[in-house]
Structure formats: C-alpha cells, structure tokens
Symmetry: C2
Subunit: 571 residues, 2 copies
C-alpha cells in the first residue's frame, strides 16, 4: 500500500520580523490546512499531481528590509513622542510596514515577493482619548496624514497610508471595557478592543462585573479574532449571526469621535426625532471623518443553552433561496446563523465538512439531491427558548414545503468550530501559487439570481477557476451574495484584472459594491458611478466639514479624494 | 330625578372657510367628546360646575379674513403656474393660511382669536416629480423659500412658512402607490400619500394588485389619518406598533429627493457597506435639505387573525416599568402595541375606557391595585401565530413576576377603536378654555424615573394641572415618555411659558428633546445645547451643501439658521 502524499503544509509560526509574519492571517501559531478531500479536489481542478506540491514558492520568510525615508521631521516625531511617550512611537522599518498592511490578498502576494508599496512614516500607539485629541490637533495644524489601525483585517487596502504620515494603532492601549450597563443592556468600550476580549468579558460578566446575567456582543464576523469594535463600525461590518442580532450598524448606541474640528459624543437615547442622526452619519466613514475612540454597544443575554441548530439540503439553489425568502418574511423571528450555499460551494463544503462520501451523502443522492445541483442550508436560532424552538419548527416547515430535506443540526455543529478558521487556509494555498479570494455584494430578492448568474458566468469563463457562493445575511427584502473564487496564477496583474472584472460584473448586474467588507481603496474607483454623483457629493461635503485639510485617511479611501484608480500611483 | 347636564359639545362640521375649519383636528365630521366620567373629573380638577360649561369662547367660527400682501411678483406666480398649471396655484387668503398651519396648540389658540402670524405667499399643488424639480430649480434661482405640506399634522410649527414664499402641497396629487413588490416585500409610493390610503390598499393587495397575500405598512401614529408617508420620514415618526414593526426610520428602504443641487434616489439594497448611508442622512431633515418625493417602504403580511391582546394592572409604576424592561430585553420578539400608563394616566384612562367603577375596578382595588398608585399596561402581539402566542405567554409570565395582574385583552380592545380619536377631544376642551397638549421624550431605562419625576414635579407645581404620562415605544435600552398635560388658562403667553418650562425640564433632566414629534421650530431653540455645537455644525454643513441659498424650509426649522427663539419674530 502506497502511503498517501500530503503536502508539507506550513505548521510553524512565521519568523519574527519576516514578511510572512505580516501577511499571515490571524494567530501566528494557528493553521488550517486543506483536508485530503479538498486537496484531491484542488489537484483535479487545476490538473496537478502530487509532484507539483513538492515545492513552495514565495513564502515570504525573509526579514523585512527596505529603504524608504521617513517623511516627517525629527521635530515632528519628537512632538508626537512628547504627546504619547517615547515608548509609544516607532519609526522602525518593520512597524512602519506592519501597520501599513491589512489582509488584502494583493498585499500578501506582493509581500511574498518582497514588494513594498506604501509604509507609514511613523507608528503611534495612543494611550487614551486625550492622546488622540492632541495628535489629531497637531497633525491637523501641520497637515500630517493620519491612518488608523485596529485589528488589521481590512481586505481592500483600507489601512494603506497612501500619503505616509502617522498610523495610529488603537488596539495597543485603547482596548478596555469602560462600563457594562446592565439596566440599559449596553457596554461601553474603547474602540480598539478586539472581538474575543469583548466577548469573553461579556460571557463572564457575572464574575467580572457582578451583573445578574452573562452577555454576548452578538457580532461575529469571520475576522472576529483580529478585528476591533471600531473597525466593525467604520467599515459597516456584519457578523455571522447578523440575521438575528443585526449588522454592526444596528448595534451601535452611541460613539465618541475625535475629528479635526472637535470631539463629540453622540446621544445614547433609544430613538429620537431630533434631526438627521449624527450617530448614523459617522458609521461607515472608514476613518475619513475622524477617529472613533469610544463606543456604546447593545448587548444580549448569553444563552447558548437555548441555541437550536438545523441543516437542510435542497434540490436546487432556487428552492433554497425561495425557502430562505419565506423564512426572512415569515415574522416568527430570524435565525442567527443563516447560510445558504450554492451548488458549487455545497459541493466543496460537503468535502470540507467531511460529509462527502458518507452514508448521509449516499442517502441524499438516493433521494435525488445530486452533486453540483443540491444546495446546503445551515443555521441556528438564538434567544428565549420557546422563541428558538418555534423558529426551528417554522424553518423546518418552510424548508419541507420547498423540497428541502432535514439533515439535522450536524452540519451547523461541524461548521461552528471552524467559523473563524477558513481564512487560515489562504497561506497554505498561496504557498503553492493557488489564490483564494472573496468579493461580496448585497442583493434584493428580485435580482439575486441575476447577479449570481452574471458573476458566476464571469468567473467561470476563466478556465480552471472555482466559484463558490453563499448567502449569509438575511433581511426581509434581500440578502447578500458572498463569492469565493480560487484560481491558479503566478501573475499578480492577471489576478488584479480578474478581480476588477468581477467587481465590474457585480456593479453592472445590479448588486451593491459591498455588503460588509467596506469600500477601502480597492472599490473606491467604482463608488461615484455606484451611488451617483449627487450622493458622492454629500459624502464629500461632510468630509470637508470634518476634515478641511484632508488629513484623515487621505489618498483614495471611499473614493472621496480620488475618483479613479490613481490611488495605486500615489507616492 | 334631575337630568344630568351635558355640555353642548360641538357636533357640527366647521363652517367652510372658517378659522375652525383650519385648526380643527382631522375629519370635519368626526368628533370625540369627553365622556361623563371625564367631564366629572375635569369639573373636579378645575373646581368648575355645570354653569361654567354653558358658554363656549373663541370658537373660531368666523370666516378667515386678513390683509397680508403676497410677496411674490405677478411674474413669479405666473412662472409657477406655467409649471404646474393654473388650477394648481392659489393665492387666496384661505389657502395661504390653511397650508401655513399645522396642529400646534398655540396655532389653534391664536386662530381661535383670529390672530394670524404667518401665511404662505402662494400655495402650489405639484402633480409629479418633474413639477417639483422645476419649482425647486425656479425658486432656487429666484431665492424664493419653499415649504412642504403633507398631511398637516405638525405639532411644532414645522409647516410655518416663516419667510413666506411657496408652500408645496404634496398630498393633493402626489399621493399614489407606484408599485407593490411582493418578492421584496416593499411598496413604492409618492410621498404625499396619507396613512389610510396606503394601509387600505395594502390590506387589499390581493384584490388590487393581484398579490399572493395582503399586507400592512406597520406604521400607525396617532396622526395616522392626517399624516403622509413623507411626513413620517422627515420628522422621524413612530407608530403605535413601533416596538414590533420599528420606527419610520427603520421602515424606509429607499427614497427619491429633489434638492436645490439635484435629484437622486438612494439605493434599495437590504444593507450595504459603501460609506455613510445617504438614505439615513436625509431622514429627519424636516424639509431643510430638499423635497422628499418618493419612498420605498417595508411591508409586512397582514395577519390580524394572529393578533394576541393582553392587559395588566400593576401596583406601582416602578413595577410596570421593570416588567416592560424585562419584556424588551427578553429576546422572544416584541409586542406591537406596548403601552404603560403612569399613575395619573391610569386613573384618567380607566375612566376614559369605561373601566372605572365597574366590577373589574372593584376587584382590582380589593386585590390591592389602588387608584393613583396602580398602572395599566395594554398591548398586543403581531406576526406568525406561534410567535404571537409565545409573546403573550412570556409577557404574562414576566408581568406576574413583577406583581402585575392579568386583566384580559379587554382594555386593549377598548383602546383600539379610539386609537386615532383622542386628538378630537382637543376642540371640545378648548371651546371651554381648557387646554390639552403633549410633549414627549426618549429615555434610557436608567434615567426614566428621574425624567418622569422631574417633569411631573414641574407640571404639578402649577395648581390644578393634569399630567398624564405613558411609555409606548420600547427598545432594549430604553423607551419614550409621553406627557399629556391639561390646564385651564385664557392666557396664551402663560401657556407658552409653561410649555417652555416643561421642555427645559425634559432637557435638563436628561431626556431627549423629542422621541417622535420632530423638532420643527418650537423645539429648535434647544437644539444646539441638546445635541452640542459640534453635531449642530454637521447638520448645518449638510444643509449648506444641499441648500446654499437657504430656500428649503428656512426660518428656524431644526435650529439650523436661528439659534434662539427669534423664529417667532421673523416677518
């Protein structure tokens, strides 16, 4: 018997100060490798054999080294250091690159080759609101650009210091819980706190804060482990349970902002009729209006014991979507996790979850749920126990009506432990020149299939390219489509052009430019055509009010100060 | 046996072209009189006897007549007429006053005395979006102020043409349903449509639009019969079932706006992450940014058969509020109607609903629910039938825990038919010099009792003054307080000063300036201190962008162009 070949997937944390330590997703010590089924699938798709997987390329293991001048004067750096303390200012090469870099695939591909496009002049770790106020005032006076780094998970060049200047790292010190208000069911935090610190504290609120109950923050994006509360809000993120808890937009009660024209805190009333809501105007500004420093956020009772899980298989994507629409409009409450995979994602997902080839798989096929036609729906309900029980009951009834077969809560249970882990797959694939990336959009029910087909057609027109799609954030009038594409190419420019083509296709077929990844710089060139020049003018007017000297995240972000792809060329 | 005296409550529609025909609430042929119990209560409170109610004063039955020049040139009026047609332009005295007047009590009191403060120069009834575009462009060029009249129910001088000019009446022609999209569960309407026309059409959607189901708009403010969809949005209204369906803010999918700098339609995606949401920035602008002409609005299945009603009596207001908080944070879905009356409102409410003095009343008293201590909670649940059943079950459990006694769904049933009728009481009372008015605020759970006590203390410090309060819009982190005060005075200035004192007390005790009545001109002088100068500056920056010549609802609205009470003095 021949021993099965397994590629030498990397199992070692990146070397300190290496490029890889910057672009690798997540915890340096955590990995997720393609399982054998997925590996077989990849070989088949790309017509490769085991020998191809003998050698990795462009692993980015070399030490960061480059020559780029610091474009701030010694006096300016000294002035910043006097504000925050010398320990909290850095101009070393590694820091200037690390905090200039998010998790955009293009960034990773280039760093693997040692290509460095933009770095900060100076990295500053403010300790508190007063530090931020002084820095913003100083930089505004001296016209020094400011960029803000929270968890570092942007996938659209949102963190790129296009014009150099200062990068403020909010997650270093400004990551505390300031108050848990059990009466109002809110938590007030510094904006730099990351997901796990917040959620762990809330889950243990009785012990830590002496509250009557334990709580949850309700927001679990895939980037949860490496994204900050501030980042969730300024990029308009959505969590994997958003259909029940709401998007980041819905969860923000009030905020404190430091802007070039002053500091203010929005009111924390439940609802008011006192003119346009400044609290909402700030959300989604991606750091172009100011620095978000504090957040009061809705919290919910932590009741995992009430969670009800369910899974279904449908004969077609149309059936699955029809069921999901009926659920979303059913008025019995919404599932928390609510995720429908299309034909191709189901095909690969069943391999990933280890269902492919099992007795369950055979049973499904016998019952007419055929590979590359069938679609998987996994979900769970949260809340009060009779409420979750009824959701499960109604979901089952509706799915059955649309030809769905109940396959128990097992697929959801299998999905849960890996819910934040899929991004770790990227490094393994990239090590062998296989690119995996995502783009996503918001659709209404009545144009969902049109957008889905158009994007799939575009992606699949490229030979040997995987296109998996799911819908995972549901509303009464629509949902999102999340496209994952896998391709093999050594040519970064080919990849960029292909990605541009997908974005074009999404926009032209009538999807939104972004459902929850934000715009950053990558999607900015499409913004003006997408929302229209009248609405872009509104955003620019607000920007001008807050930031007359254009020091807040300048150089392409949201398309405010550049209308085209020139952000790539800023020196 | 002496026949009981009943005052000669007016039962006749106001004479055409009379002042009364302008200030009377609602349908000219509809009336709601104080019932005998309330009449007795009023006599007792104000220490009056039947003889006082022999004579009415200031009924406003005279014909409207005044001399105020039209401050537009003949050419300007001709130009407007050429746009909309001569039939749709009026400069007659009655129209100029009628469409300059809302339902603010001060307006009514003054019109009763024939005091006219502000009128439009010209009233225009646009037929369509193109008309509005041409009018806005023309007026912007000639710097002619524009005011917009929908249903006419503003209670804070929101419609007052402070600087004369043109009043656009949107409800005359621009009141059509443009599209019912059953797939997305949305309806698109012209902004001037009033509540009943929309709701009736949706309730009969199967017949009228050939849909599979019938629908509801989910928004039922007390002003429902005389308020427009556009008005709901620009003033940030809330309906009586908002705890379940959401506030107007939440129900708007997209909008079309005509502004001095252009016309645009916001995107109708379910959610997007494409920068600050212009769709939300426009909400609450109270006509100061432009004219809202079309709205796409969420709709819901019309399932009155699933409605579950419930009523409870609590021993104290604190108990009732504690129960309502636990319900609002209970995660089993929210009641639709959800209304807690404080001690004094319960006292008068039980008289109004005819419960006072009945067997039920006696039973309640026997069980320790004492007058002027006990508090009434009425409510109902809507949605899918198991969902509503569970809400009722959970609500009962929580109320019982807080000492509430279940008194069946009867009080809710008795409240329902009159849900839009209470405002009709005003004319009867005013005819006898008794003033009834309301102010309302948003509170968080943790400052609710402080605000409630402070406002009650202020109101009750005036001898012989009724102060009834209820909370009727619930959120996980707070609710609203709605104050109804009844006083007897002939002195309009005393009334105005008293009202100012209440507003001061609300603001100083930490309530919001308005939960769902909007700001208008009446609350505008408090705005800058309330939201802070930094946030006022944001609103002013957006205003300046849309309306550089300040022609859209100028003269105090929202406090944008006046910081103090000078709006009263504008000539």
């Amino acid at each position: 018997m021949v021993k099965k070949f397994i590629p030498d997937w990397t199992e070692k944390a990146p070397e300190p100060y290496s490029y890889r330590s910057i672009f690798k997703w997540g915890n340096p010590e955590t990995f997720k490798h393609p399982n054998p089924k997925l590996y077989q699938e990849l070989k088949q798709i790309f017509q490769l054999d085991d020998s191809y997987f003998q050698h990795k390329t462009n692993e980015g293991r070399q030490q960061v080294q480059y020559k780029k001048p610091v474009n701030l004067t010694q006096n300016q750096i000294k002035a910043l250091a006097e504000i925050v303390g010398y320990d909290n200012v850095s101009t070393n090469e590694y820091d200037r690159l690390k905090f200039a870099t998010g998790k955009t695939l293009e960034e990773a591909l280039k760093l693997r080759k040692g290509i460095i496009e933009r770095v900060a002049d100076c990295v500053v770790h403010p300790r508190n609101v007063e530090d931020v106020q002084k820095i913003v005032a100083y930089c505004n006076k001296h016209k020094i650009p400011i960029y803000v780094y929270g968890g570092g998970s942007s996938v659209n060049f949102g963190l790129r210091p296009a014009k150099g200047g200062v990068t403020l790292v909010l997650s270093t010190h400004m990551n505390k819980i300031l108050n848990v208000n059990e009466t109002n069911q809110t938590v007030t935090v510094q904006a730099g706190i990351l997901g796990p610190a917040l959620e762990e504290a809330l889950n243990n609120a009785q012990k830590l804060f002496g509250t009557k109950y334990n709580y949850t923050c309700g927001h679990f994006p895939q980037s949860f482990e490496y994204s900050s509360v501030g980042g969730w809000i300024v990029t308009l993120g959505s969590g994997q349970s958003s259909s029940y808890y709401g998007d980041a937009y819905d969860l923000v009660i009030s905020m404190k902002w430091v802007t070039p024209v002053g500091t203010f805190t929005t009111k924390d009333y439940a609802a008011t009729a006192t003119g346009p809501k400044v609290n909402d105007i700030m959300k989604g500004c991606e750091g172009t209006f100011g620095v978000l420093v504090e957040v009061t956020w809705k919290i919910f009772r932590y009741m995992p014991e009430n969670r009800k899980r369910f899974g279904f298989i449908f004969k077609t994507f149309v059936d699955a979507i029809n069921a999901s629409r009926e659920i979303s409009q059913g008025e019995f409450g919404m599932p928390a996790v609510f995720r429908i995979s299309d034909e191709e994602e189901t095909h690969i997902g069943l391999k990933l979850y280890g269902i492919d080839g099992t007795v369950l798989d055979k049973f499904m096929q016998l019952r007419g749920y055929k590979p590359m036609q069938r679609c998987l729906f996994i979900g769970s309900a949260e809340g009060e126990k009779h409420f979750t029980k009824n959701i499960k009951k109604q979901v089952k009834k509706i799915c059955k009506k649309h030809g769905g077969m109940y396959i128990t809560g097992l697929p959801t249970r299998m999905w849960e432990p890996g819910r934040y882990k899929d991004p770790y797959l990227r490094e393994d694939l990239n090590d062998y020149g296989i690119l995996i990336d995502t783009l996503e959009t918001s659709v209404k029910w009545d144009n969902l299939h049109h957008v889905h087909k158009a994007v799939r057609q575009f992606i699949k027109s490229r030979p040997q390219t995987v296109c998996m799609t799911h819908a995972s954030h549901f509303y009464s009038h629509g949902t999102n489509l999340y496209f994952i594409y896998i391709m093999k190419t050594d040519d970064i420019n080919e990849y960029i052009q292909f990605q541009d083509g997908i974005i074009d296709t999404i926009a032209k077929s009538g999807g939104s430019l972004s459902h929850h990844h934000g715009v950053g710089r990558m999607l900015a060139p499409w913004m003006e055509e997408h929302i229209g020049k009248e609405q872009m003018a509104v955003l620019r007017a607000i920007k001008k009010h807050f930031d007359p000297n254009n020091i807040m995240n300048p150089g392409g972000q949201l398309g405010l100060d550049l209308k085209d792809k020139n952000w790539r060329k800023i020196k």
